[in-house]
Point group: C3
Chain length 342, copies 3
């Protein structure tokens, strides 16, 4: 596909500074873009523009740009996303039910949905319009899936779960597996059946190999707009608020309630039965052992405010020196005591 810079600017609702008639045929990263490519730059990378020789660069405001034509847009990252889709449309998916898919006769499939080869769809399942169900997806009885949701190969949606609209469930995700609940007597563990489900809001993404267990009773919940990375574990009865980020390999134990706009960086662990306030941010490898106030940045294990954690790390680094100082002080005091005849 070829578009002029001016055509792209109009598509984005942006303004051209420079040659709007130049022809663009692809979109690339700042370091790779050539004269036929459009790219974008945000601070501090706008500094490098004089060394870039692209067809056009999307930026937030006018900056020194060397020989590059600029396209001023409100949000260069979003504009970049839009052009990515324009220049690289996803491969088309054919709607309809593949003859090898096994769809129970009590299930309903919305208009324009695609059920690919070897999918297995249980009793009373409801699949919305425009859904895309890849091969080997297993959908248990009574599952409900909103319009426009995509489920990638081999994901498992266990019985009774509810997915929202426009959700993306990646390969091998397991939604609604039975929570880890046992009653122990005389050292023997007996399973407590977990009969609840998982409810996922709209516009949620669930990463590859991420496991979200069902609730003992009621629902494990992930609210609208939350994005979850790969290999994450959410225990039974966990509740996650709206628009959170849960980065790869994070684990959250049972019954913990998380507010809105919370960020858990990678490999964070959170104990069960605690509450996390809105807008809390946890650095990578955080270990959360209690209730946490919102609107703060935390780090470490046990987790503490990030600034305090950093300061403590600095002191830990100085420990050998501190030990030496203490030894020197002991010596000096001994001498003073000797002198003073103590």
């Amino acid at each position: 596909m070829e578009k002029t810079v001016q055509e792209l600017a109009e598509f984005l609702g942006g303004t051209v500074i420079g040659d709007g008639s130049a022809v663009i045929s692809d979109i690339k990263g700042l370091a790779e873009a050539g004269k036929q490519d459009i790219t974008f730059a945000v601070d501090p990378y706008t500094e490098y523009l004089p060394q870039v020789h692209a067809g056009a660069v999307m930026v937030e405001k006018e900056v020194p740009a060397g020989d590059n034509t600029l396209v001023i847009v409100e949000n260069p990252r979003l504009a970049f996303s839009k052009l990515l889709v324009l220049f690289h449309p996803r491969q088309s998916v054919q709607s309809g039910v593949h003859p090898t898919a096994i769809v129970d006769e009590s299930a309903s499939v919305g208009a324009n949905a695609a059920i690919m080869a070897y999918a297995v769809i249980g009793k009373n399942v409801k699949i919305g319009e425009d859904c895309i169900i890849y091969p080997y997806v297993f959908i248990g009885d009574n599952v409900s899936i909103g319009n426009g949701t995509t489920i990638f190969p081999s994901a498992v949606i266990h019985e009774n779960c509810v997915l929202g609209e426009r959700d993306v469930i990646r390969a091998h995700a397991v939604i609604g597996g039975e929570g880890f609940g046992f009653a122990t007597k005389d050292g023997k563990h007996t399973r407590i059946p977990q009969i609840g489900n998982v409810e996922i809001g709209d516009d949620v993404e669930i990463g590859a190999c991420t496991c979200i267990d069902n609730a003992t009773l009621g629902s494990t919940k992930v609210a609208a707009g939350t994005k979850i990375d790969n290999l994450v574990h959410l225990g039974h009865n966990v509740e996650i608020g709206e628009d959170c980020f849960i980065i790869a390999q994070t684990g959250i134990a049972g019954s913990t309630k998380v507010g809105h706009h919370v960020i858990f960086a990678g490999q964070t662990g959170c104990t069960g039965h605690v509450t996390i306030g809105d807008n809390a941010v946890f650095a990578g490898k955080s270990g959360i052992t209690g209730n946490m106030e919102g609107n703060k940045v935390y780090a470490g294990f046990p987790v503490r405010p990030h600034i305090e954690w950093s300061r403590t790390q600095a002191y830990i680094k100085r420990l050998p020196e501190m030990a030496k100082t203490i030894k020197a002080l002991e010596k000096k005091i001994a001498e003073l005591e000797k002198k003073a005849g103590v």
Copy 2:
């Protein structure tokens, strides 16, 4: 289903204190239970009973209960489990081999077992009575599976592995993948073939996306009664004792031997070739770097006794204050030295 409180008490072998004729139609959590529901309470939650208005509450001993009828039972959690199954029976599974399942003619399938759509069962496989094999389960050659075991969708049981009776293998678990063994020469890694298997005892549960590698020679072993959560990794030749809990995202490196009744909380890591004693308990995110005595509670990385770890954390928090004190002492000593004419 409807049952009177008296009928439920008899089913559980318990005793009613209050109105045994009240009709119960469901089982709920303490916070959600209404007048038609039965629930349970253990300390410290029994305190809240005066604010609860349930149909009946299962408890261990008589407590102040407001307007609630009590059912005294030996173990309220176990009683709760039994009633969950009573009021919410698992959906029935149809026994027999689905026409799309591919079962090698040398394999044997026990009475009343269910082999669902698209399962693939290899040569000489033995599947016990009453087993449930969900769609897309791959079972390699020579695998043996005891009676009453359930394997959820897409789990992979590699060749030669042995599963016990009444095991539960969750979605996407991988049992018997080749262990991570290489011989390195001049910086190039050559695979050491791992020809052993995995042996799982009776009544074991293996979580979703959990990976248990096969042994180099001999067997990687998980003994009877042990329950493993999601996304756990067990390396080649690991041996786990009876009735352990291994919580989500724990990893145990090759050849480590774990005793009975050991608990690894989430995200624990354990190095290879070490021995863990019976009844050892490891807090979340523990990092185990050596042999560990049993009958103790540990935490931290490197792991140490929990009480010592907690104390150390308190001292770490006080480090800035300690540094200040040392500085003040230095100053005082300098003054004393000046005064003493040192």
Copy 3:
């Protein structure tokens, strides 16, 4: 199979010290080997040879060996690998395309390749000679796979990815899932489409349930000879050099560049957009937060040189004692001050 010690020594290019005519019928570990078995020993295990009564022991050089015949070889571990394959050949795989496999007519399958039951192969896919594709493997459009590569059950290779020759992709690995990239505005996260791919070099192994995300643009890369364990996460645009080891449950965030021969032990976490030098080694549970020089051994979080980390741990253990010493010094100084009339 039966072989004399002499025949095995010739097969390995080794030298017999002892009875070359003894007949060997299996290969076992040092502790299990009996008179019909061959085994191997490297230091410090060679010490135990006088207590071993095997048919033959492969060693690097002559050592006191009790009644054991020795076979001197250059690399006993490699020799062990070779004999494992000799005595325990992998079960044979039948080449050809299984009738239930769905292979797009635009795909090409090399000579002698095996495409097993229920595999789904997309448009324009190229599968090399001698490849083995297990059941439920999903291969997206335009994927290219080199000769001799094996893909275990349920692995997912998303569109446009490139695999090398002789790669091993284990069960449930997900290659080329969409990277975790979003543009956030007013607290709402909008996906940045990730249109790049993943490129895997020759002789690479990817563990079970390991997830390697595709690049935003360009390629996420794993170079030749690198071995990756189970449950590992590599973010978008990560680049891994040659002959690295990435052990189980390690996570590496987006755009990080890793050199050659780097070792990440289990549960290591690495932040995004950093550079790791050649031959760097990270102990288990390392937390990498910045660029790291090569040719060093690191540990801890935040990561530091291993020796410094160990020393710091020792000081942390001594903290209670240090606090006591400081208290004692304060007291002594107070007394000195009193005496000096300060």
